[in-house]
Amino acid sequence: MANALKPLTPLGHDAPQSDTIGAITITENPNTALASLAARLGREAEVASLAAAAGIPLPGPGQSEAAATYGAIWLGPQQWMVEAAFATHEDISAILKPIFGEAASITEQTDAWVRFDVTSTTLPALFERLCSFDLHKAGAGAATRTVIDHLGCYVIRRTDTRVTILGPRSSAHSLHHALTTAAKALS
């Protein structure tokens, strides 16, 4: 539906911010819609098959997975964060609810998070200065929640050279400061 209200990115701009520091690029990415998906008690199998039918991957603990339309990140036991393009899925929970009916609890999460995509050929060296998530070991698909400068964040290894960080939206500036400071210390 046409939207009268003009959105702002988490860093408070009309357009996403991108910083390149040495070999590291940190880009704000507001183009993903997010919703949490949690299986209702006793309906886990049903949720699995409905998800499969709808092309929604349900990765295991510590993992993320991308499919054609949807991607997903494991949040906790029987709970996932479903990703889709914001342009087509702004009202993502309204789209997902009919798929799962009463078999799952679905909650919009899109604007609860700031998403930074970090690209670099030296990601492990950067993350050594940020958190205890060991990117030397964690290959593409690995995803976890951990702490970066006192902030609880999801770190998702998309590829060898690209990581997505989901952090609390209200602290977008603090998180951005932490990321750029670490990048500068390495450059």
């Binding site: 009268a4 209200l5 679905i106 609860a112 006192h150």
Partner: protein, 965 residues
Amino acid sequence: MSRISGGQIDRSQTLRFSFDGVSYTGHPGDTLASALLANNVRLMGRSFKYHRPRGAISAGSEEPNAIVELRTGARQEPNTRATVTELFDGLSAQSQNRWPSLKFDAMAINDRLSPFFAAGFYYKTFMWPAAFWEKIYEPIIRRAAGLGRLSKQDDPDAYDKGFLHCDLLIIGAGPAGLSAALTAGRAGARVILADEDFRMGGRLNAETLEVGGTSGADWAAQSVLELASLPNVRLLPRTTVIGAFDHGIYSAVERVSDHLAQPLPGKPRQILWRIYTKRTILAAGAIERPIAFENNDRPGIMLAGALRAYANRWGVAVGEQVAVFTNNDDGLRTVNDLQAKGLNVTLIDARKGDEVIDSAGRLGLKSITIRRANGKTETIHVSALGVSGGWNPNLNIASNHRGRPVWDDTIAAFLPAPESIAGLTCAGAAAGAFSTHAALTMGVAHAIAALADLGVTATADTPSAEDAPLNLTPLWYVHSGKGRAWVDPQNDVTVKDVKLAKQEGFVSVEHLKRYTTLGMATDQGKTGNVLGLAVMAELTGKTIPQTGTTIYRPPYTPVAMGALAGRARGADFKPTRQTPSHKWAEEQGAVFVEVGYWLRTQWLPRNGEPTWRQSVDREVLQTRKSAGICDVTTLGKIDIQGTDAGAFLDRVYANNFASLAVGKVRYGLMLREDGMVMDDGTTARMGQNEYVMTTTTANAVPVFRHLEYCRQVLWPDLDVQLISTTEAWAQYSVAGPNARKLLQKLVDQDISDAAFPYMACGAVTVQGSRARLFRISFSGELAYEIAVPTRYGDAMIRALVEAGREFDAVVYGTEALGVMRVEKGHVAGNELNGQSSALNMGLGKMVSRKKDAIGMVLSQREGMTAPNGYRLVGVKPVNPAESLTAGAHFLVKGATATADNDGGWLTSVVYSPHLGHSIGLGYLKSGDNRRGERLRSVNLLAKTDIEVEIVSPHFFDPEGERLRG
């Protein structure tokens, strides 16, 4: 010039530096100590108590004497060891704890008066008159005490933290550490090799010994090159592992920039690494110990191994005429190496009965007196004396978990207790294996064993090296005249002090330490502890292990506070949370206030409002008169779904929730299991199995944690799912008589009282975009809370302000919010203090006893239901011109201000522009029976005492007609 040939310094480059204002030169590879010695400077400091002249006794981090103030200005670093300070061009250092100068220190008078300053003397005097302690004695003591000076300026450098993971951590890059690293590295394991020195190799750099047919130093250099070429090996020079913590976590400090004049732009001064490892090999070598004899503390008297190290590694001769006093064969190495360098060396071998019994030289060693086995004494002129009483395995880290070291008679030293730290083994000199051959083979063997545990196979390849025994015959201190023989040089603890401690019953090693301050100096007794223990053992006729052991706590060497704090300082101490209206509010010149990590608008001054009160009064009056808008996004929002969500709420809230209809909101009171109020807020039923709970801003996280606990631990089979949506929605309160008119301009659906009555909730659209609407009120006005996805929050506040223009609506901040809630008698933070029950808050009736909700049972305890307990009351000054103070206490008229008469206190106070005077909420004993009573509100801190009247907490619209309007 006492530079001699050889050494691992780059003579092609010259570095300029200064000490106490005098300029000198040195070379890359020098430490401050080696460069000073190369310039014939032996006097580097003064001792703590007696201000005795002191020079370096070691060539490592165990140094107790040669500590200086390094750098100047804001970067000044007190108590810095010259022996491990890597020389850089422009280095500037000052001696410390002396006045007026190092050579002429007035405080050296203490040395003359030393008999009066025996161990523990201060416990026995300075008691009369009592008042003199703070006024006279202590200020003098404090001024005299302390070592170096802090600049009192903010540290200008940045510090980083980091996290490393490995299979095998090796601490120390001497022969054992290097051979272990080569073995594990070649086998493909993830290895971290850390060494505190800027040049890896350990003692090999200080010796003339051969490894695999080449010089030890060259073998070390080649090994480091090979390790650097292995992608699975991480070399950390200039890195001190400071302690072993639980489950294979080690903490290490990397000195990234301390060898530079100042850090490069963007770079930290140091990095605190948290290392997660599966196995650890401690190969930290051994620390030589002295033999105590009279005046054994003069500049020029050193540990024999250090004297050798300065000659071999740094090409420095501390003197032409040198003596060596040893009780073991390692001391003989010093004799041989120095003679090979062309120095004239006298050997005093204690094993032959020869002893050094005294020394002379006011500011530096001039001569020593020797007593030969045959009893003859002679005095010889020397400017350097090397002393070796044996070597103590450097087991520091291995005892961090309080595992007691075990005594070994063959080396007369403590060995690390086996299994003292899970996953850690000790190799080489740290394990008491002193020959190079033993160190190399042990390093290899421990690496193979550690990797075998991890299922990795490694192969042994050990180079050849010397395997000479130590041949030590213990000698701890020389029995001779009346003079003082130093055990702990920095703290000036002498053999006499140990004797006195024994005489007064401070025999336990912990008592000895605390009474004499033995081992409490900046070197933490690395050189002196075992010696002190040995002296006590001899005095008590016990063995050393019977007398006690010494274990070490982290950190291994002192650590800069900045490194432990990392980036978290100043404005970056904690993250900042911004509300969706932050950008707009900034443009309006809003005043912000910290609420937890949040920054909230406190008030919005308009031009011509010189005081905050005027702004807040306007915001309140205008809201009550027309309409006001407030960002309430910071309240916690928790999405609760599932077929048992209603039953779940009925257990976590004290009041009834089962009956809440879809599309309705209800106020909920949450108790802790101990019956006190934990939190409050509203919960809206958005659908059959879908609720949205709001919490106070402060308790959003604890409440969420509590709900997860309830659903996972207490009632695991309830079908309930939770997720926080606090940040997903930008939520604004719109309050006041015109609130509906204002909102209706933006909301596409009918929000008339009929269509959207008080306490209704539901999904709506704002000019087409998704939103949630709740008809709830904190202000007591007709009010709504409207929520839109956060990215639209900025646009929404602008839209609301625009829509409100025709009503002259205001945006109000937390101050006005507070005024209006006190006017309505709503409890908030100051009342929700964790010490108050529902009954205290006047909400006792909300606690249903018909269901088993958390906190219900214990809230019924006699002490919490006593009629004379605290009750929430409203308070107003009898004289409207007088203002109340939060925190003031209640007294009845005529009562003295004593605890027995204390009636309670004012929790919250505001100025009510609506009533035109100050009002407050308070907790008053038996408060609900005391309406209309006149009491005094007394603030003894500000010496105010005003008459107040106790009234209903509901100052404004008690019947609540306005919010239903």
